[in-house]
Symmetry: C2
Subunit: 204 residues, 2 copies
């Protein structure tokens, strides 16, 4: 387990959002641009679980706990902790016996998806999962259009490689439309990605 | 996502241990009875990943974040957070395309394994995983003998059901020896549970 501190500059915004959500989900209030992608996916996964379609969970946000108080007759209180960089993707689980693994990201950029939304750790994890025969993909949302796409990890890895070799640091929307699969937003489930998985991997 | 506060009385000891470990893993020091089961499994999973045998990770400890500070030019600091009860098991991942899911627990009780080591949430999760065709089991360690067993979830569910119906609140060591599979402690990997999985599910 790596306990590296996150690079404050790079990650604070992300953590700020996480913390904001963690703080507000309790009261059922969300960020003012409507439901976040995470909330939509949590609802979707709950829908899948309740109907015994699939068992997929979001992993907890990894934190390094430094100081904990143990008040008498009440729950332990974490007094000092730090956000850690995730070593894997955020979502995984099982569908028809197969291992499912994905990361979900959104961008306000209308024309391309910045690759800085992913970390080298996660890219390595996706490669490992594919090598083990797991089903690995990313769910990308363009918030400006409310458009959601599922793109197989094997394609993301190509775009990542292009960046590593000095190419563009993002995936154009056109590329995502070509390589990815559009997921129309629904009511229940909100983001029916399992339907895409079925067609991609001939599960039904 | 459930944000129920843990029952302080019931969970403080467990959280105390978690916090202790979180605090000390950084310095490479562990609880004084040698490597914990968690550490042994983390090393084992690292061994599997490095050799491309399997990709299995421990999920982060779920915490509910209440207050976060954002100091200038440094990482966000969590100032108030609470341990949450896990809604799933601690470990999952992929092996040869199949979904692997397990919980690991140890007891100092020499004669039986108390079922209070598991929560209803986790039992339900195991049932869901089995229903989806995932490979689900528990790894149980008797610390007094340094003995580790792998027991398929389907057996644990029977013992849990027995308790629910008013039967004993633990699994006797004899029952674990009968239904479970002894895992001899090794050096690398420490706890070679994949070997048991291979024989149980005819993967090799």
């Amino acid at each position: 387990m790596n306990f590296n501190y996150p690079n404050g500059k790079l990650y604070n915004p992300k953590y700020a959002e996480q913390a904001f959500k963690a703080k507000n989900e309790k009261n059922g209030s969300y960020s003012n641009r409507g439901m976040t992608l995470e909330e939509d996916l949590n609802e979707t996964n709950e829908y899948y679980r309740e109907r015994k379609i699939a068992v997929i969970h979001k992993k907890p946000t990894p934190v390094q706990i430094v100081q904990v108080d143990y008040p008498k007759r009440s729950a332990a209180v974490i007094k000092e902790a730090y956000f850690k960089q995730a070593s894997t993707t955020d979502y995984n689980g099982v569908y028809k016996g197969r291992y499912i693994d994905f990361e979900a990201k959104e961008t306000q950029n209308p024309t391309s998806f910045p690759l800085k939304n992913f970390h080298q750790h996660q890219i390595c994890h996706m490669e490992e999962v594919l090598r083990q025969g797991g089903l690995c993909f990313v769910i990308l949302r363009f918030t400006s259009y409310e458009q959601v796409y599922l793109m197989e990890a094997k394609h993301l890895l190509v775009f990542w490689e292009r960046m590593v070799k000095g190419g563009r640091k993002s995936i154009t929307k056109e590329e995502i439309e070509q390589k990815g699969h559009y997921i129309p937003l629904g009511f229940q489930p909100r983001i029916d990605y399992i339907r895409i998985i079925d067609t991609l991997f001939h599960f039904s």
